[in-house]
Amino acid sequence: MLSDIFTLSMKNLKHRGLRSWLTLLGIFIGVAAVVSLISLGNGLQTAVSSQFGISSTELLSVQAGGISDFGPPGSGAVDPLTTKELEAIEKLSSVKRAVGRDIVSAKLEYNKRAVFGYATNIPSGDNRKFIYEQIEAKTIVGRLLKDEDVGKVILGYNFYTDSVGLGKKVVPGNTVIIQNKSFQVVGILEKKGSFIFDNVAYMNEDELDSISNYGDKIDIIAVQPVNKDEILKTKEDIEKILRKVRDVKVGDENFEVSTPESSLESVNAILGGVQMFIVIVASISIFIGALGIVNTMTTSVLERKKEIGIMKSIGATNYQIFLQFFIESSLLGLVGGFVGAAFGTLIGFIGVLGINSFVNSDLTPSINFALIFFSLLGSFIIGGIAGIAPAIRAANQNPVEALRE
């Protein structure tokens, strides 16, 4: 019996016009958004992490208050870190090495054009090697900077492909003007897939000071602990000494020491926000999609009033009529969910491949069958719920009135 009604519903669906299918757009978008979001999964995390330059798992970073929290404007580094703090941290017994990093915005001129980008310092001596290791610096052409280089600079990958807007690609040997000072380019770094690393001019510390008059200000202090298993203890040590140096009480810190975990946490917080947003958009479109199904089913009940009358006259009970429209509506939802899941999986696939080529990762795109199953089930149920009211309306048609149409 049920299978017969099911067949009837299928036949009716087959004869549906384009308009009915268009009302499924909401379900389609919602399911596609959720499926693609989940399919992207840790691909998104990889992409976002790389954007913030978090690659090392064994470094602590120290920043003046507020910055890494993406706090409200004004809570930024009003009281920046200086060499005083750097020296204090270096002296700690649990700290193997502490390196100050500056990143300044700078005007860069070449080919008679100017762009605004970033310039950052490369420390000298032993720390140079350490930083090169940490950022996995390799040149695609030319060479890396050395201690004895003067008036030399290496540039991020984007200058080499001219995606920064200079109108001409920069190669080793060219001269660029940074903050009105001439530098010779000696090397271009490999692509990192990060807007920070790929747009930056790297120069020796003294030269950065000379163009930025940064003085003894430091943006970030990268800290390598003696024992990476005791990274939390190192963190506490740093916090203790900084409270003393900067003369603040517990709870009033105007600086922040982040471990790789906490950096990852803040990335996840961002991701969580993005995911929440997508889920909200998806929920709204699924809700609108459900309303669309209610609408198209109601229209269908009105259009097929006579048909309902005929079916009642040849013996269909109210329940059988209800079931026919209810199943039809569920199937409508299922179709929307199916197309959405297929499309979402495709987006997830392409997205993962895109992230791979963008940040040089090697994530494997995969098809999540459980996810597809549940999104199909979900859209089937949503279709069914949306169909209840129209189906009741169909079932309660008075046969005499319906036949008179």
Partner: protein
């Protein structure tokens, strides 16, 4: 109406009223009708438009319930039935033939004939066999997989006749069966109704064409303003048996 008393009638209307209330106006569509229809009779209900014949058909066909009075089908008072019981009753005991054919457009001829059996839970194999037999009976064996819009008016009405027979109903209720057809195709349709009648089916035809009613029906009930005006009868014809036809009409169950 003395005749038929004693033996119980297949259909009996007892002081049936059907009023429609439209604001302050009361439309007395059926205003106190009593009649009996016995098994095997070919009855016509005649009347001009607005005479209450359509409402009577709805009442007899259990599509509607009376405002007042009783309707008995096979001895059961259907005026007290619930909607779903009425649906089941219609499906089992009444075969409808409508003026505008009323086939389901999304279903083929065969599927249309199968549909009443679907609602009664007849297994699919049995439905298919019976639908094919019935369509052959109305000489549409070669049109079974056609959709209604691929059939002529006369063919559609023959599909409707086949459909009305699907569940071996007690009564065929034909509402202006030739109303949308030209004379020639109308005659073909009436020929099938005559044949069914000769096999012993009870047929109630609603029409406004007196000529049609008098030519085919044994008893004609004339309605006017919701009341029974007169009854005319003609002599019963002798029934004859034609083998295969009867077997199919009666069904195999």
């Amino acid at each position: 109406m003395k005749k038929g008393e004693g033996k119980s009638a297949l259909i009996e209307l007892k002081d049936v009223f059907k009023y429609y209330y439209m604001g302050d106006n009361v439309v007395k569509a059926v205003d106190g009708i009593s009649l009996k229809i016995n098994e095997g009779e070919f009855v016509a209900i005649m009347g001009p438009s607005g005479s209450g014949k359509s409402t009577s058909m709805n009442l007899v066909g259990s599509l509607d319930v009376p405002t007042k009075g009783h309707i008995f089908l096979d001895g059961e008072d259907i005026s007290t039935f619930s909607e779903s019981d009425l649906s089941q009753l219609r499906g089992q005991k009444i075969g409808f033939i409508f003026q505008s054919f009323n086939l389901i457009p999304n279903l083929t001829a065969k599927e249309n004939v199968m549909l009443p059996m679907t609602f009664q839970g007849v297994p699919i194999e049995e439905r298919e066999i019976r639908a094919e037999e019935l369509l052959s009976l109305v000489e549409l064996g070669d049109r079974m997989d056609h959709y209604p819009n691929e059939l002529s008016g006369g063919q559609k009405q023959r599909v409707a006749i086949a459909r009305s027979l699907a569940n071996e109903p007690e009564v065929i209720l034909a509402d202006e069966p030739t109303g949308n057809l030209d004379t020639k195709t109308g005659d073909i349709v009436m020929h099938f109704l005559d044949r069914l009648h000769k096999q012993g089916k009870t047929i109630i035809m609603i029409t406004h064409e007196s000529e049609l009613a008098e030519r085919h029906a044994e008893i004609v009930y004339w309605l006017r303003d919701g009341k029974l005006e007169k009854i005319t009868k003609k002599k019963k014809e002798k029934k004859y048996i034609d083998g295969e036809f009867k077997k199919i009409v009666k069904g195999r169950r």
